[in-house]
Symmetry: C2
Subunit: 354 residues, 2 copies
DNA sequence: TCTGCATCTGACAACGTTGTCATGGAACAT
DNA sequence: ATGTTCCATGACAACGTTGTCAGATGCAGA
């Protein structure tokens, strides 16, 4: 009678083999094992075979954390990635692009969620540093990242994504926020709008501020007074965005076109328009593309970002820095793209303004 | 004249301080420093203060990878998380819930994307193991996970999410796929449908198979012949799903109701229905909820999963195993929820069937 | 004064690996 | 035969930390 192997009752706890074990079994020194498992030259074919056999027999797996201990130039082959939230689709795309670019180099990614909380930012970075990551790719919320200068001057590669750092010189890969938002303004104005509204995220989020600036600049450049633009900010979720939009649209002098700085805000605005039966009457452009935007009624015109390009470039920059690139810090700007789907091409209604 | 500090030119490369450095500065032994930074008892208040001051002065940060080397019971305070893709919203939710539950214990998460590729599965797991993670939380695609038995019997905590393992006994946290799909069948039949279609994902994905089984069982239980159900499988993206749905809906004897096993398939089906002007005539239920499902026209009825609950429970299980729980492996099933939004409540049309 | 005990402290080995370097043997040139 | 070079190999220290253990100190009780 055979027994089903059950780890929880029978043979649990055999120790994980070390190089020493492999070396003994193969009848060689540990350094030779090290050479074989690291694919280093200087081992005869016969010895290599013998070691490989022993490795397989014992199911030996190199401990890269132990290896990274020796010689301070050694790397842990891991990086820390701090994102607004790993459950946020935009962040997910960045993460994915980075993973793909880093995997070819055997670098693993620690991912964590910032939640736009400066305290978390420090704690999570500290957790990454304690694990001696080879580099850090960060989206930040704290007012200044000057507290990282000591680390950075210890040669810790640093790349900021989506938001530029303050108080420290380091590479950054960001979206073309101002220009993108200005494009939205120009597009709406071109379609005849003069009564515009801006619905924005938390003002302490850098990108939100830039989109606001860009939008208002765009309006101003078109010769329209920016004081007439209704600005509602600190909308941090769909519900608050809905309320702000609803209030605005039912006010004395409602806007004929709305620009929303972020997806959740866009969703709130969409719901408000729909609830008031205005979705075919009031124009809407959202910053950041989203799934099914083209399936909405009307399709939602957006300023699309390119998270895959941001992630890919960020990965390239961190790899370059890890490899010793010491050129001056630089900010890379990824362009946005206006995608027309209908909602942004609605013209002001004849009966509007009353 | 002061110079802007520029890490790339000036004071780069100062070495990271070690416990020895802190000990020397504080005038104590390294073991005392170790005790202080690890909050261990047996240090006088005065000494503790002195060490803390030195720690701050040098910006010392404990190297937890080095610490985990000593004493094999020591942990690396990290786990590996293998997901279908970190850019997939469902996975993102699981990831996020796990992160939150693990962060309170100071455990960091290595995340990686499986891409439904058995080769990647092995490689990524190997990469995690090489970093000596304290546990593994996995979504798998390989036919069997028996290759992990050696690791598992070495006390490596293992929890499978979304899909159950094969060839190995380990905890799993999964969605109630069969019952959820059966609910969809019952719901459609209850609304008068008899000509049903099933649109499914790759047949080698476990959940897809279970949803198919559950759906057909549900149909059978209602006394309807399952042979009349049109089954289209191996739809791996929106485009193939669109084509399959389009073909089906324009065939001789088209279905009056469609069940799609997964979001991308649902999107493809939605597009096909829309393209043919059938979105208010043919019923649709999708497995898995998605953002803006309620904003579609009609709203999309779905079998909603609970990724946050899956992630939270998976985190609890892996923590319990890490803490030494040796109870028999168990599968935890998270229930689904049918959310009615319109598309699933459409009744068969009078003119249907040609 | 001495003993016993508790508290604080640090020397030292060990964790699993890699860099350095010395050794030994074979192959080749003289 | 001798010297030189090259290759394969392993002994050993070191990486930064923690577990173990022993020493030092102080104090209470006999």
């Amino acid at each position: 009678m055979t027994t089903m192997s059950n780890r929880y009752q029978s043979d649990s706890g055999r120790k994980r083999p070390t190089m020493k074990n492999v070396a003994d079994l193969a009848g060689v020194g540990i350094k030779t094992v090290s050479r074989v498992v690291n694919d280093e030259p200087g081992v005869s074919e016969a010895t290599r075979q013998r070691v490989m056999r022993a490795t397989e027999q014992l199911q030996y797996q190199l401990d890269i954390t132990a290896g990274s201990l020796k010689r301070s130039g050694r790397k842990t082959q891991s990086i820390g990635l701090l994102l607004p939230s790993v459950s946020n689709p935009f962040s997910g795309e960045i993460h994915r692009a980075m993973e793909d670019a880093l995997a070819v180099r055997g670098i693993a990614v620690f991912a964590a969620s910032l939640d736009d909380d400066p305290d978390r930012e420090r704690k999570l970075i500290s957790a990454f540093l304690g694990r001696r990551v080879d580099g850090l790719v960060l989206t930040t919320i704290a007012k200044s990242q000057a507290y990282m200068i000591p680390e950075h001057s210890r040669d810790l590669p640093l790349v900021f994504v989506d938001r530029e750092p303050a108080g420290i010189e380091a590479d950054a890969v960001v979206t073309d926020n101002e220009i993108g938002a200005a494009k939205a303004a120009a597009h709406l104005i071109q379609h005849g709008h003069t009564r515009l509204a801006y619905l924005g995220d938390r003002t302490d989020i850098q990108t939100a501020g830039r989109r606001r600036t860009g939008f208002l600049d765009g309006v101003g450049k078109a010769g329209i007074s920016t004081s007439g633009v209704a600005v509602r900010e600190n909308l941090h979720d769909e519900e608050t965005a809905f309320r702000a939009a609803h209030e605005l649209l039912t006010s004395e002098n409602p806007p004929t076109a709305v620009f929303s700085s972020q997806n959740l805000v866009t969703f709130g605005a969409m719901r408000a328009l729909r609830a008031l039966g205005l979705h075919h009457k009031v124009a809407l452009i959202g910053f950041d593309d989203f799934t099914l935007a083209d399936m909405m009624d009307p399709g939602i015109t957006v300023i699309a970002q390119h998270p895959e390009r941001i992630g890919k470039l960020a990965a390239e920059r961190i790899l370059a820095r890890i490899d010793g690139d010491e050129s001056p810090a630089q900010t890379y700007v990824i362009p946005t793209e206006l995608i027309q789907r209908g909602s942004g091409e609605i013209r002001p209604q004849a009966d509007a303004g009353k």
